[in-house]
Amino acid sequence: MKKIAFSIAKSRTKFLLLLFVVELIVLSLISPYFFSINNLVQVTQFGAALTLLSLGEALVMIAGRDGIDISVGSAMSLSGVLFGLAVMNGCNILTATVITLIGGILLGTVNGLLVAAAKVPALIATLGTQYIYGSLALYLTGGIPISGFPDSFKVLSLESTFGIPNQILFVVVPVTILVFILVYKMKFGRRVYLLGTNPEAAKYTGIRERRIRMCVYMLAGLLAAISAIINNSWLMTARADAGSGMEMQAITVAVLGGIGVAGGVGHLGGVLIGVIIITMMNSGLQIANVNSIWQLATLGFILIIAIILNRMMERFVANVEKSRK
């Protein structure tokens, strides 16, 4: 028994999978509709935007120096509004997509310049840019959602192929694979991790901290822009508040997935399981007809409990290893 507990405490993935199973059991007890394959697959579309945002957020946190990006939500809103405005002004969907992606990278660059080049604390810098991006999105739309996208735009998020929602199959899965290759199969990822664990050592190995950190924030901006396009197609409108509150969810998912706030710790795979757990919970609560504000509160509880569990498991692992010696 103790052996099993130890192996679960030591491996984040096992712990998350256990949590996932418990959640599935609880939710299917609450509602009999929940546990059908069709529903389980359809639920994934609610997590499309969140997956991309949390991958970006997790990378920013892994890169260390108290890295955090509170502006991802507003960046998503603003790039979504950019997309809407581009389409309204006569661009076709493809040009609008390119404009939006470039816009997202630029928004990330501003954060990167502040944090990496000017060495401003990430929390305050991105808090400031969150204000700026959110307010610009509101100003550009005048507070009114932009609608009237061509009908063909529905293909991206409102239709499915082989029973799997299109945005998951054609956007989220490929992008996630690309991010994983970038982080776990290329130099870039090693450098990001080293920056998080030991910036001093990174400096002496000749890693250009400024450039890598900048790239991380740009990547977060790019992922926010992609999720904005998915979201636009899903709602068929571009709203100035599309991403509000998303940064909170992204941070929660990253922390639940085992990403250390101090940097250098955690695996993106844990983040993916975290997204699934949170998305399942949200839709489960919706099926059980619980108001959305309670979802936020549950998120808050999960966040605190996840971190306390983190600490306790660390202590447990350390104790067991000590007694073995």
């Binding site: 401003v120 400031g128 840019t129 507070g143 605190i304």
Partner: protein, 327 residues
């Protein structure tokens, strides 16, 4: 004799005051009805809560932390006050209850942060959302209206033509200035923010300092809730949703940095920051700039002031290094 070290406000705070004066002159020239007594009183009334809560935020940020939950905490307390007023309870009982709840909520934040060593931001984001849900549960989509506490007179009264509220705010700031500069506990806060390990080794109970600071922050949120009720006479669902960020903006513009340069800053700078943002918001409205852009200006100000701090911090450290070499 050893000279006592007092973390007096530095040049950075005076820069904010200078900016404040420049701003007032600028708006005074551009908008003729900006520099009227009525307008100034309105500005102070509208920003009383921000002024109060910013004190707590300054203390927490001096420690290198942050408290994002103040807005929702203020909301919860305001609703409790509202219900107690509707039940015609004794006013002193209400005030005591409000402050007890505020300190208790702050204690919860501080306990999680100090005991479990969880990052401040994560804890307060989580509690912020939990209290938001509590606000929703308490109100259930309704509004609380027609609240008129007997102490509301304070917010409208004038002494010798000066609004009593302004005098009150200045007194509270003076108390906290004295507390932070000249009391032992206040300087423990600076020491902990500067270097927690060193503070711990020199016999300061770092965990207790953190715990008490968050309690103070919660207690001040309770005072802000009382002012809110007195000013608005009603409570709605979105209460306090922007408060935390407004306070962080004020504190940052006032020169207290988060993380890394916790040792700098004082409540005096925060007061300047609060007034700066208050007049800016007012000026934007008077000049007819679209109010949707208001947050954009505040965000820009936050970014510019941390940028300024970061750039000047780099310079001074280089200077002191050069000095060290020369010596």
């Amino acid at each position: 004799m050893l000279k006592k070290y007092v973390p007096k406000p530095g040049r950075r705070e005076y820069v904010t005051f200078l900016l404040l004066v420049l701003e007032i002159i600028l708006f005074g020239i551009l908008a003729p009805n900006f520099l009227t007594v009525d307008n100034l009183i309105r500005v102070i009334q509208n920003n009383a809560e921000i002024a109060m809560v910013s004190i707590g935020m300054t203390i927490v940020m001096l420690l290198g932390g942050i408290d994002l939950s103040v807005g929702s905490v203020m909301g919860v307390i305001a609703i409790v006050i509202g219900y107690m007023l509707q039940a015609d309870m004794n006013i002193f009982l209400i005030i005591i209850a409000a402050i007890v709840i505020g300190v208790g909520v702050g204690f919860l934040n501080g306990f999680l942060i100090a005991k479990f060593d969880i990052p401040d931001m994560i804890v307060t984001i989580a509690t912020m959302n939990i209290w938001k849900a509590v606000i929703f549960a308490l109100l259930g989509g309704k509004w609380l209206t027609g609240l008129n506490p007997s102490y509301a007179v304070i917010t409208r009264a004038k002494v010798l033509g000066i609004p009593l509220l302004l005098i009150l705010i200045v007194i509270v700031y003076a108390i906290f200035y004295y507390f932070l500069m000249y009391r032992r506990f206040g300087r423990h806060i600076y020491a902990t923010g500067c270097n927690p390990q060193a503070a711990n080794l020199s016999g300061i109970n770092v965990k207790r300092v953190k715990l008490v600071s968050y309690c103070i922050s919660g207690g001040i949120a309770a005072v802000a809730a009382m002012l809110y009720i007195a000013r608005m006479g009603s409570v709605e669902m979105t209460i306090g949703s922007d408060l935390a960020i407004a306070c962080i903006a004020a504190v940052t513009i006032g020169g207290t940095g988060a993380k890394g340069n916790g040792k700098r800053g004082s409540v005096i700078g925060t007061l300047a920051g609060v007034l700066f943002i208050a007049f800016l918001k007012n000026g934007i409205v008077i000049l007819g700039i679209p109010s949707l852009l208001e947050n954009c200006f505040i965000g820009l100000l936050i970014v510019l002031s941390v940028l300024f701090d970061a750039l000047t911090a780099g310079k001074t450290s280089k200077k002191s290094k050069a000095k060290g070499v020369a010596e």
